[in-house]
């Protein structure tokens, strides 16, 4: 099987609100699919459908070849779910959380306990095994959450904003664990509000906005498709910024952005052929350059170009939507 997740035309409505309006998602087996999108874009709804927690109003989805509606049980046997809403039990100790899931999956007491110990060790939680989860730090909780979703050896793992609210060190830890899982052959669907996270981890990225897919491809493809490259120019004399602005605007046909702090002027460049012309024009205008660089657009700029917003996603919103629709 080449695709672990195949969803086409997913539609989901909550009352009058259309959360998903025909979404296609494909995750190749053994890779990471990053799902990006601003507030209320529908990412969380899509994950909940793929995890059998919600039924779609239209379209279909298969996970590991099983239909998420008609073969929900087989899908549940194949997946692990981690994130903002699939949580661990605060009132139990770390090890009992994992033993409980092992027992629910039909393992014997002894093998559930062994698996729990193994996962706690792998996630650096052995010392905290007997403590109630409510005493855990945010990072420890997230690691236990990840461990809990791995008890059943899932082939597909959904990670819903796995590093939101974590300090940089814990984030890097979680990234390392995700890379390790992918190396073991697990397929990961990752939603995130951090573009660098998607850039770091994802093999493919799907950008969702207003319940529709507005872009899909590899990080490089997305960067090339929108704006391609970015030219950054800083004059040695900050007073010359207006002249730089005028030249860049005239030669690229786009509206440059100016950074007030550094005096840098930035503009997307579709065709590098204009660069020599720009340099000649700047020279003719009497501008001495401090910096002149051409680089690939960052995912952040791609995202901004596609959606016109930088707002992070709010996972609680979907649940509120679901609830208020009842």
């Amino acid at each position: 099987m080449t695709n672990a997740i195949e969803a086409s035309g997913l539609v989901k409505r909550f009352g009058k609100t259309t959360a998903l309006d025909g979404v296609d998602l494909v995750a190749r087996t053994g890779t990471v699919l990053g799902v990006l999108g601003p507030n209320g874009a529908g990412k969380t709804t899509a994950v909940r459908i793929l995890a059998t927690l919600l039924q779609p109003d239209g379209g279909q989805a298969r996970v590991c070849g099983y239909d998420v509606v008609r073969q929900a049980h087989q899908v549940r046997e194949s997946i692990g779910l981690t994130g903002q809403y699939a949580s661990v039990d605060d009132g139990l100790s770390g090890i009992n959380n994992l033993i409980m899931i092992g027992r629910l999956l039909g393992e014997s007491r002894a093998s559930a306990r062994a698996r729990a110990g193994e996962l706690l060790e792998r996630f650096g939680l052995t010392d905290a095994a007997q403590r109630a989860v409510k005493t855990y730090s945010g990072g420890m909780r997230r690691r236990l959450d990840l461990a809990a979703s791995l008890v059943g050896h899932p082939r597909v793992l959904y990670l819903d904003e796995p590093t939101t609210g974590l300090d940089p060190r814990s984030r890097t830890d979680v990234w390392g664990m995700i890379r390790g899982l992918v190396a073991d052959g697990v397929t990961v669907l990752l939603t995130t509000q951090y573009l660098d996270e998607a850039d770091q981890l994802a093999n493919d990225i799907t950008v969702i906005d207003h319940g529709r897919v507005i872009a899909a491809g590899t990080p490089d493809q997305l960067k090339n498709a929108t704006g391609g490259q970015v030219l950054e120019v800083s004059p040695a004399d900050p007073a010359h910024r207006d002249r730089v602005f005028a030249v860049l605007a005239a030669r690229t046909g786009a509206t440059p952005a100016t950074e007030t702090e550094t005096g840098m002027v930035r503009v997307p460049v579709a065709d590098p052929v204009v660069l020599p012309v720009i340099i000649r024009d700047l020279d003719a205008a009497g501008v001495v350059l401090a910096e002149f660089s051409l680089r690939k657009a960052s995912l952040d700029e791609v995202f901004f170009a596609l959606t016109g917003t930088r707002a992070p996603d709010d996972p609680t919103q979907t649940r509120e939507l679901e609830r208020s629709a009842r």
Partner: protein
């Protein structure tokens, strides 16, 4: 601890009923474990009955029955009923926390029986009810309450209380499913339980109440349950109130369990 990877267990394609039962027992184990680790819950379960006993016995006793000892004989069966009924509110509260906290979403992403989390929570709560009955009866006896009937009737009294609680907890479960926050569960729970508990013969004889209230007391299931408990613990007629209390329990179960299950399916 071993770091060797265990092979993934082979699981059946479809859920056999016995799998659902095993899931339920695992989740019952979870609920019972949570009682042990949740100190506030344990303190509430044991201190609340003690507080009720002390307050009602020594504040109301002399005024209602002439002596605190005589009142304790009258009120303790009623206090048992009150304690257990209030304890059923914990069921809705915990279900609500499990849903809003996302724990139930985790369960639903697992290949287990859909009804197991609900059944496990209810079964686990039976242990909580048993604790509150034991504390109330034990502390009541320390204060001077005497079971004048015998061990078997006392056991029957406990069984009757638990049976009734098993029905009442579905009312609580329904509230837990319908209300948004745990605080809301507490408020609506008290709104539903208080009139039932106090509009009865639970703490006082109903003779001095106005007629309309006596009419309510006469149909209130708490009245039958309390009368049956009095009969089983301190003597008197048992059969009629016990049968009526059981019929009420059956009625409550038949109405509220399906409603709660339906709300659970919609909510999760």
């Amino acid at each position: 601890m071993t770091t060797a990877t265990l092979p993934a267990p082979a699981r059946p394609r479809r859920l056999a009923p016995v799998t659902g039962l095993r899931n339920t027992f695992t989740l019952t184990w979870r609920s019972v474990l949570k009682i042990r680790t949740n100190m506030e819950d344990l303190v509430g379960l044991s201190l609340q009955p003690i507080m009720f006993l002390l307050l009602f016995t020594y504040v109301f006793g002399g005024a209602i029955s002439g002596s605190t000892h005589a009142y304790l004989q009258l009120a303790l069966p009623g206090l048992l009923v009150m304690t257990v009924v209030f304890a059923t509110m914990g069921t809705g509260l915990m279900l609500n926390q499990d849903i809003t906290g996302g724990v139930f979403d985790r369960f639903r992403s697992l290949p287990i029986a859909r009804w197991a989390p609900l059944a496990g929570a209810v079964l686990g709560d039976m242990v909580r009810y048993l604790i509150s009955v034991a504390v109330t009866l034990g502390f009541g006896m320390i204060l001077g309450f005497r079971v004048s009937t015998g061990v078997l009737p006392a056991l029957a009294a406990t069984a009757l209380l638990l049976t009734f609680a098993l029905a009442m907890c579905w009312v609580s479960a329904l509230i837990g499913m319908l209300v948004k926050s745990p605080q809301g569960v507490q408020m609506y729970g008290f709104l539903a339980m208080f009139p039932l508990v106090f509009g009865s013969n639970l703490l006082v004889p109903s003779g001095t109440m106005p007629g309309w209230l006596q009419a309510f007391v006469r149909v209130n299931p708490m009245t039958y349950l309390t009368s049956a408990e009095r009969g089983l613990l301190t003597g008197g007629g048992v059969a009629t109130p016990a049968i009526r209390a059981l019929l009420w329990a059956l009625g409550i179960f038949v109405v509220f369990a399906p409603l709660a299950v339906r709300a659970y399916r919609r909510r999760t």
